[in-house]
């Protein structure tokens, strides 16, 4: 499902070069739940960005669903990302002026379809994440856990085969965190959705089928749960 072949990512910061990924190769099968761990600066987020087509590798290739996304044009990769990949961020990044329902609807609307066509889908997604009763609420009226659930619902709008989560519990209390991880696990199992999650938290990583430990842009250790 996801394949990274000898991927390098070097950032330039002024005169300095910072190597975020250093010849990393990785295969992730369809329906797998992979937790990526590592200290700050180890390259976890960069790995997710490359898989999600948010950034391009300096060297190497990134294949997602058998397509080389690292070579796609900007609009092509955007459209690919829109339907194939869902993102969950640490700080939720919901649009504060849109209601819960509208936030979930947003990716579908960006696809240019009238909102009314998607009402059943949005309703299902909100029910799925346990926010059916909060559809008309603005993000600021939701708790942290609820906001992250909403972010997950938005990520699932197109029923993408891949879900990328960057520190999804990093901004939540432990109970909310567990609930979010449980939800992601459930989605992974029930919908055969491939999940790649970057986390600092060993307990959170425990929810994955496999843990990939990164250090200095390289895989230090790979271990099944």
């Amino acid at each position: 499902m996801i394949r990274l072949i000898d991927v390098h990512k070097v950032y330039k910061q002024g005169r300095n070069e910072i190597t975020a990924l250093d010849g990393l190769s990785l295969d992730i099968q369809k329906g797998e739940f992979v937790a990526v761990m590592g200290p700050s600066g180890s390259g976890k987020s960069t790995l997710l960005h490359l898989i999600g087509g948010l950034d391009r590798p300096t060297e190497g290739e990134v294949l997602v669903d058998n397509r080389i996304i690292s070579q796609m044009a900007d609009d092509e990769v955007t459209l690919f990302r829109r339907v194939k990949i869902g993102f969950v961020f640490q700080f939720f990044n919901l649009l504060p002026t849109l209601t819960a329902e509208e936030n979930v609807l947003l990716p579908l609307i960006l696809d240019g379809r009238p909102g009314s066509d998607h009402e059943p889908r949005v309703k299902t997604l909100l029910e799925r994440v346990g926010l059916a009763g909060r559809r008309d609420h603005l993000p600021e009226e939701l708790s942290g856990g609820e906001m992250q659930r909403l972010a997950i619902a938005r990520a699932l709008a197109f029923n993408p085969p891949i879900l990328l989560a960057d520190e999804p519990t990093g901004n939540l209390d432990s109970r909310s965190g567990e609930s979010i991880l449980g939800l992601m696990r459930q989605i992974n199992r029930e919908e055969r959705c491939t999940v790649v999650m970057a986390t600092h938290n060993r307990e959170a990583a425990g929810y994955g089928d496999r843990i990939v430990q990164l250090k200095d842009g390289k895989i230090e250790e790979e271990s099944p749960r």
């Binding site: 948010l54 955007t78 700080f91 649009l95 990716p107 960006l110 909102g115 990520a155």
Partner: protein, 858 residues
Amino acid sequence: MRLLRFLSWRHLRRHRLRTFLTFLGIVLGVAVIVAIAIVNRTLINSFQQTIELVAGKAVLQVSNGESGVREALYPVIRDTQGVRDAAPAVEGFLPVVGFKGERLFIYGVDFLADFSIREHQFAGAPFGLESALDFIARPDSIALTESLSRRLRISIGSEITLVTSRGALSYTVRALLKEQGTAKVFGGSFALMDLPVAQIAFGKEGKLDIVDLTIEEGEKIEAVRNRIRQRLQGAAEVQRPQERGEQIESLLTSFRLGLFFVSLVALFVGFFLIYNTVSVSVVQRKREIGTLRCLGMMRRNIMALILEESLIIALSASLAGVVAGVFLAQVALLSVGKSVSSLFLQIDLAKGALSLGDFWLALAGGLGISILAALYPAWEATQVTPLENYRQTAWSPRSQGVFRATMAGLLLLLFSPALLFFPAPGLGEVGKFTLGVVALLIFLLGLSFLAPLFVLVWVGFLRRCLSRWSLLSWDEWRLASDGLGRSPMRAGITIATLIISLAAIFTIAAFVHSVRGSLLSWVDQMVTADLIVSSSARTAGPMNVPLREDLAPGIKALPGVQVLDLYRLIRSTYQGRPILIESFSAQASASVRRLPMAEGKGETALRQMAAGEGVIVSESFKSKFGKRLGDTVELPTPSGLARFKIIGVYIDYSSDSGSVLIDRSLYKKIWHDELVDAFDLWLAPGADQQEIIQTIKENYGEKYQLFVSTHRELRDAVVNIMEQSFVVNYAVEIVAVIVAIFSVINTLLASVLDRTREIGVLRAIGATQGQLRRMVMAEAGWIGFLGGVLGLIAGTVMSYHHVVYNTKVLTGWTFQYYYPFGFAFLCLILSVALCLLAGYIPAKQAASIPIVSAIGYE
């Protein structure tokens, strides 16, 4: 200072484009103020200077406008006790044949008496008594200045032909004047003639324009003045030269106040540009300010920092504005000089120079306005908490400030009409006009403060509509309106700037449109003649040379001419203030003439006027002097004070100082004046207009330098004169448009920067670069639409108030309000189009934001 260097300087450099735009906005505003100050001062100085130069040593002057002083009164004046020297003169402009645009200021003097008052320095051999007698003895003598003789290449002994009331007459140059004293006026376009020769040239036989006086030592000026007044019994006025200057100055009051209004608008627009820039800068730097507060910076230091930043820009921009203003003034003076010469009187405009007062005014204006405009945003900056830099989402002041702004807006809106309904007692025309302008600006400010509320209302309305019409695609437009709703204050500031700019543009445009409409409608009613024949200028006024009546029979006899009437216009005074006296024969043109009336019936009034039962006064006269129908006016005439009953009030836009219309036969009898400014011709049905024009030109054209205007041409000439006088106003329109564009670019750039993370997220969840570009453009479009609609509403109220109230207060004219529908529509389209254009740069920036760095938080 160190903080300024560390933070402000770097911030200003980092936002070079915005800093430059603000700088340019202040430069433009200050330049307009400086230019108008220079123009206003130059106008006044020029009048005073001319009067002082011509007056020479005179301490008193006897004159009676263009009505003149009967020559028979000269001995009476001269022989009054206390008068030492008396010098009679006639004066005026005459065009030079063969030199297009060249007009000479002719001063006709009594050569034997004049040297006691004025020192005329002649070039070459001394100009003694013998030379003077020789000059006088020959009735075609003229003395030109050396510079004029060089410019026209006319030396002593050569001939010069002038257009006089008797047609083109040739004069021989018998002396050259050094450009000293009186000869310095009008850039050397000055000529001396013997008094009787000049009287013939101007058609003022038996009349004097002025008698200059000096008094015996030990005599008091006031005492001598009173003695002369008593002897003249109202047949002329006795004034000090300075008072005469002030009287002429008062002619220009409304013109100068109009310019002042324009500079006030420029200042107001500049104020909002600075307010906008500083506000946006504060919003954008919330986190930076939060960090500074965390690091221990006091609130007052934050305030000082923001104010100092504004001062740095304002100081440099004001200085540049002063320089730009001096250049702008030179351009404006050309146009203003033309307007004043066409509308009021020929003026010898001095070169506009910057005075120390102008410099300080500009500097104080630029700096004061900047500080004032930056004060509120700077205070807002002090309200930023140290926690601001911990916020992870874009700062979202949904309701912050909106309530306060709304309350302030409502208060100002209520206060604005109160100023008009309960004015301070004892206010004059100028005071009421100024109050009217201030009320307008307060109204505008009030509406601008309501802009954030309008943004929220609009976003709410849009949400409801778009969710109801779910079939409509709402993606980019909806997101764009949400963007606005998230920062109603910031969007409100831009919309407020648009409102102000657009309102200023629309008010000026609607005013010009209404004036044009009213003027044309008035010309159509007032001038019904098919052809108007005049000399030297198409319209009766300062450029026109009056002709003698003896041309009339020849013109009347032309085949096809059915009715001929003679029109005369002179400048006179009433209660010491300048007025116009107009006359025509109501009897001769009874069958064809109409008169636009403000009070009374035109036909009845004209009939009464023809019967010599009274005069018809203009509405400006009525309002300036507080007269009513049936009242009596006492006018100074060459025959002494004459009383007339007011039998009607007519609409007259030829002068805002007030006009009195009198029948020609009565006028001739009392004023002893048979001159004609225009021959009005009504043609017989089926007459060939072109053939008659051709015949008049062939018979009289060359000799009298005639203009034969059709009704259409006269209309065009009136519009041209009007357009010319509004040229300076258009400069402000340009400033307003530029400021509006700056503001939109400013706000949208800040909005994009402020929402970097959100834009990153949108890109991450699948928004294409095109979609983001369209979203930001749509936001600009909404701003343009809202600003356009509200600006038009404000402009409509303001222009109506300005046309109907302010103008009436200042000039006494009642203008019809003509709504410029086409221009209003264009404004709306332009507002949206300009905002879309201005949104392009921010839109491009939004689309090119790298996703990773936008959403990155590690």
